[in-house]
C-alpha cells in the first residue's frame, strides 16, 4: 500500500543554516505521527515541506504518491494544514472566512455552507459564526483555524501545535476530533510541545533535534529504548514472605518494600502471568500487579540529554 506521507533523506538549507537534514519518514492511512523537538529544531520547516509550501534542498517528499515539487498544486489539495500561527483575517466573519477558503479549493457553494456549519458546530463556534474574528479569543481562533484545515476534507492533515492557546476543555475537544479523524483513514502529523498529548494521540513519535530525527518509534518502543524494560510493581496482602525467591526467570528484582516488590522484565506478556501463577501456588495473595508509569517526558528528556552529551 502506498503510504500517504513518505519522505526520503529530506533536507532544507537556508543559506548556511541547515534547518532539516536527512529526514526519512513514512505515515500510512489511519496513522498519527507526532513530531517532537525543541524550538528551532526543524519541525515547522518539515511540515512546510510536507505541505509543498517549501521545496526541499535535497531528498524528496511524496504525498499519496505525488511528488511535492512536481505536483505541488495537487499535493496542496490533498493536504489540510493548521499553521503555527492561526493567521485569520480579523475583519471577516467565521462563515465568510470558511467560504473564502472553500472557494479557493473550488468547492460548490452549497457544500461549503453545509461543511462549514458542520465544522463550526463540531468546534463549538456555531453561535459565534456571524461575529467578526477580531472579537474571537485565542482558543476560538485556533479552533476556527482547525476548521479551515478540515474544510476540504483533506487526506493528509498537518497540525502545528493544534491545542496551543486553548483552554483544557477546548483542547480536549480538538484532541477528540483528531482521534476521530484518524478513523477516517487519514494520515496525520502533529507537531507539539505537549508530550502527554503526543502520547495520547500518536501511534508513532519522531523526536527531531537540529534538523535531524534522533529518535523514532511507537511510545512503547521509545520508552523501552531510552528508559529500559518496563518495571512492574507487585503488591501482596500481608508481608512478602519469600515472594522474592518465587520471581520467575526473566524478572529482575529492582527494589522491595514491606508488602511490595518491583521487578524489571523485557517480556511482561510472558513473565507477568508466570509471576501470578508462582504467587498463587505459594498461597501469596496478590493485591495488584501493574506497570510503573513512565512518561514520554522522561523519554524526551533522556533523548535530549543523550544528544547533548554527543
Amino acid at each position: 500500500m502506498t503510504p500517504l506521507i513518505e519522505t526520503s533523506k529530506l533536507g532544507k538549507r537556508f543559506g548556511s543554516l541547515v534547518a532539516v537534514d536527512q529526514v526519512s519518514l513514512r505515515v500510512d492511512a489511519g496513522e498519527v505521527l507526532a513530531l517532537l523537538g525543541p524550538n528551532g529544531a526543524g519541525k515547522t520547516t518539515t511540515i512546510r515541506m510536507l505541505a509543498s509550501i517549501l521545496g526541499p534542498t535535497h531528498g524528496w517528499v511524496r504525498i499519496a504518491g505525488l511528488d511535492t515539487v512536481t505536483h505541488a498544486s495537487q499535493v496542496r489539495r490533498l493536504v489540510g494544514m493548521l499553521t503555527e500561527h492561526h493567521g485569520l483575517y480579523t475583519r471577516m466573519r467565521a462563515i465568510e472566512y470558511l467560504a473564502f477558503f472553500g472557494e479557493i479549493y473550488g468547492m460548490p457553494t452549497a457544500q461549503v455552507r453545509e461543511r462549514s456549519h458542520g465544522l463550526l458546530d463540531r468546534f463549538g463556534l456555531i453561535e459565534t459564526a456571524e461575529l467578526r474574528l477580531g472579537a474571537y479569543s485565542k482558543g476560538m481562533r485556533q479552533k476556527l483555524a482547525m476548521a479551515r484545515a478540515l474544510l476540504h476534507d483533506p487526506t493528509v492533515l498537518l497540525l502545528d501545535e493544534p491545542t496551543s492557546a486553548m483552554d483544557p476543555e477546548s483542547a480536549r475537544l480538538v484532541r477528540e476530533s483528531i482521534r476521530g479523524l484518524r478513523a477516517g483513514n487519514r494520515a496525520i502529523v502533529v507537531c507539539t510541545h505537549n508530550l502527554p498529548e503526543a502520547e495520547l494521540l500518536a501511534d508513532r513519535i519522531a523526536v527531531i533535534r537540529r534538523g535531524r530525527i534522533v529518535a523514532h518509534g511507537s511510545p512503547e518502543e521509545l520508552k523501552r529504548e531510552f528508559l529500559g524494560s518496563p518495571v512492574m510493581e507487585l503488591r501482596v496482602a500481608g508481608g512478602l514472605d519469600g515472594a522474592v525467591r518465587l520471581l520467575p526467570q526473566g524478572a529482575t528484582l529492582r527494589e522491595t518494600g514491606p508488602n511490595w516488590l518491583r521487578f524489571e522484565s523485557a517480556d511482561p506478556e510472558t513473565v507477568n502471568p508466570a509471576v501470578v501463577r508462582a504467587m498463587g501456588r505459594a498461597g501469596i495473595e496478590i493485591v495488584t500487579l501493574s506497570e510503573i508509569g513512565r512518561s514520554l517526558e522522561e523519554v524526551y528528556l533522556s533523548v535530549m540529554q543523550s544528544e547533548s552529551s554527543d
Binding site: 503555527e84 493567521g87 471577516m92 473550488g106 457544500q111
Partner: protein
C-alpha cells in the same frame, strides 16, 4: 469531497474579492478614497473656474488652457497614491500578521496570489481616480462647457493607470524585502521620490503644452511596469516569503556576498585575471553589445544634430582650432602629471556617477550618461564635416589616440552597470534580490577594478601626453 481545481482567473479573483471586501471595511482606507473622489475634484473644479475667470481679465487664457488638463491629472493622481499604501498593507501587512501561510498552503499558485493582491490594491483607488476625473470634468462641462480632447483624456487615464501599476508593483518588490509594514513604509520612499519627480515632470510638460511627450511617458511607464511585474513575480513566491527574514542588517553576509562576486573562485591574482577574462567578460557580452550599439547611436544622433544646430564655419578654421587647443593645453596642464591626474580623476568620477545612477535605474541612466560624450564627439565631427573639413581627420587628431582605450573602458564600464541593473530584473531561481544584486555588484567591482580602471589610467596618460602632440601635428596641416 467534491471539489474542482480552481482555474486561473476565478482563483485570482477570489483573492482580490476578499481583499477588496476587507478594504471596504477599513475606514482608514475608505475615508480618503471617498474624500478624494468627491470633495477633492469639486475643489479642483472650483479652483479651475476661479482661475479661468481671473486670467480672462488679463487676456492670459493660455494659463487656464494649461491649468485645466493639469488639474485633471492631479485629480486622478491623488486617489491612486492610496494604492501604494494598500499594496504595502496587503503584501507586507499580511506577512507581518502571519496570515499569509494559510493562503500559501492552498492550491493557489504564487502568480494567482500575486495578481489577486495586485488587482485588489489597484481596483479601488483606480475606480476612485476615474470617478474623481469624471466628477471634475462634469463640473467643468456644467459651468464652463469645457470638454477634454479625446487624446488628452486617454493620456490622463492611461497615465493614471500606468502610475498606479508602477506604484503597486514597486510596493510588491519593496514588501518582498521586509517582514513588517513599518519597514515597508520606510522603503516606500524608493517609490514615492521617483513618482513625485515624475509628476513634477508631467506637470511641466503639460504647462509647456507638449502633450505628445505624455505618450512617451505612458510607454516608458508601461515598460517599467512590465519590468516590475516580472521582478514581483520572481520575488513573491513561497520560498522567498517563508524562507528567511530580511529586516536585520547582516554586514557579514553583505561582505561575503560582495567578496564572492568580486573574487570568484580565484586563489591568485593571475587566476583572478584568468577568470575575469575567461568567464566574467564573456558573460557580459550581451551588455557589451548593448553598450556598443548605444554608443554608435549616440555618435549618429550627434552627427545628425550638427545639421539642425549649425555652428559657425569659422570656428573650424585651423588657426582658431590651434589657438583653442593651446588654451586647453595650458588650462588643463596637459603634457604634465597634474593634467594626467586631472583627466583620470574626471573620467573615474564620470564612471562612478554613471554607476550610481545606473544602480537605481536598471542601468538605463548609466547608458544615457555614457552615450553623451560620444554624442558630443559626433556633433563636432558632423559640424566639422558641414564646415567642409574631414571628420575623420579631426577625429583622428583630437580623439582617436586616447579613445582607442577610453571607449572600450566606457563600453566595459557601461556593460558592468547594465549587468548590475539586469541582476535585479532577471534573478536566478532561488536567489533573493539582495543576494543577486550584491553578487552582481561584486562582478561590477571586478570588471571596474580589473579592466576599466587600468584602461582609464592609460587612456588619460595618452590623452595628456600623446593626443596633444598628434592634434598639433594634424591641425598644423589644416587651412
Amino acid at each position: 469531497m467534491s471539489s474542482r481545481e480552481p482555474s486561473w482567473l476565478p482563483g485570482t479573483l477570489t483573492v482580490a474579492r476578499r481583499e477588496i471586501r476587507d478594504q471596504l471595511r477599513d475606514w482608514r482606507i475608505l475615508t480618503p478614497i471617498v474624500l478624494l473622489t468627491l470633495f477633492f475634484p469639486i475643489l479642483m473644479n472650483f479652483t479651475a473656474n476661479q482661475a479661468v475667470r481671473f486670467v480672462e481679465q488679463y487676456g492670459a487664457e493660455i494659463i487656464a488652457d494649461r491649468l485645466i488638463p493639469f488639474l485633471m491629472m492631479v485629480v486622478g493622481f491623488f486617489p491612486i497614491s492610496i494604492s501604494l499604501v494598500i499594496a504595502l498593507e496587503s503584501f507586507a501587512g499580511e506577512r507581518e500578521r502571519l496570515s499569509l501561510e494559510p493562503l500559501l498552503a492552498t492550491p493557489l499558485s504564487d502568480a494567482q496570489l500575486y495578481f489577486g493582491k495586485m488587482i485588489a490594491s489597484m481596483l479601488g483607488p483606480l475606480g476612485a481616480a476615474y470617478l474623481g476625473i469624471f466628477v471634475y470634468l462634469f463640473g467643468l462641462y456644467w459651468r464652463l462647457g469645457w470638454q477634454p480632447p479625446l487624446p488628452l483624456l486617454a493620456q490622463v487615464l492611461l497615465l493614471t493607470t500606468a502610475q498606479s501599476i508602477v506604484m503597486v508593483t514597486g510596493a510588491v518588490v519593496i514588501s518582498s524585502q521586509t517582514t513588517s509594514v513599518r519597514a515597508a513604509n520606510l522603503l516606500a520612499s524608493f517609490i514615492i521620490v521617483p513618482v513625485s519627480q515624475l509628476i513634477i515632470g508631467e506637470s511641466l510638460i503639460m504647462f509647456w503644452g507638449r502633450y505628445s511627450v505624455l505618450w512617451w511617458i505612458v510607454a516608458a511607464l508601461a515598460l517599467v511596469a512590465i519590468v516590475l511585474v516580472r521582478m514581483g513575480l520572481h520575488l513573491f513566491n513561497r520560498e522567498q516569503l517563508l524562507g528567511r527574514d530580511f529586516d536585520d542588517f547582516d554586514l557579514k553576509w553583505v561582505r561575503s556576498s560582495l567578496w564572492a562576486g568580486f573574487r570568484g573562485r580565484a586563489q591568485t591574482l593571475s587566476g583572478w585575471y584568468r577568470e575575469l577574462l575567461g568567464e566574467t567578460l564573456p558573460q557580459a557580452r550581451g551588455s557589451i553589445l548593448i553598450m556598443i550599439l548605444a554608443l554608435l547611436v549616440a555618435y549618429g544622433v550627434g552627427y545628425r544634430a550638427a545639421s539642425d544646430f549649425v555652428l559657425p564655419a569659422e570656428l573650424f578654421q585651423g588657426e582658431r582650432l590651434q589657438d583653442a587647443l593651446g588654451d586647453e593645453l595650458s588650462s588643463f596642464g596637459l603634457l604634465s602629471a597634474r593634467g594626467w591626474l586631472w583627466v583620470a580623476w574626471n573620467n573615474v568620477r564620470a564612471l562612478g556617477l554613471a554607476s550610481l545612477l545606473g544602480a537605481f535605474t536598471f542601468g538605463v541612466a548609466a547608458v544615457v550618461l555614457l552615450m553623451a560624450p560620444l554624442g558630443i564627439v559626433g556633433y563636432f565631427a558632423g559640424s566639422f564635416a558641414l564646415a567642409g573639413g574631414s571628420a575623420a581627420r579631426i577625429l583622428g587628431g583630437l580623439v582617436l589616440p586616447h579613445a582607442l582605450l577610453e571607449i572600450p573602458a566606457a563600453v566595459l564600464a557601461g556593460a558592468a552597470i547594465v549587468q548590475l541593473g539586469l541582476a535585479a530584473l532577471s534573478l536566478p531561481k532561488g536567489s533573493s534580490l539582495g543576494a543577486s544584486w550584491l553578487e552582481a555588484l561584486g562582478r561590477w567591482a571586478r570588471l571596474s577594478l580589473g579592466l576599466v580602471l587600468p584602461l582609464i589610467l592609460v587612456a588619460a596618460a595618452i590623452e595628456v601626453f600623446v593626443t596633444p602632440r598628434v592634434a598639433i601635428a594634424v591641425l598644423a596641416g589644416l587651412p
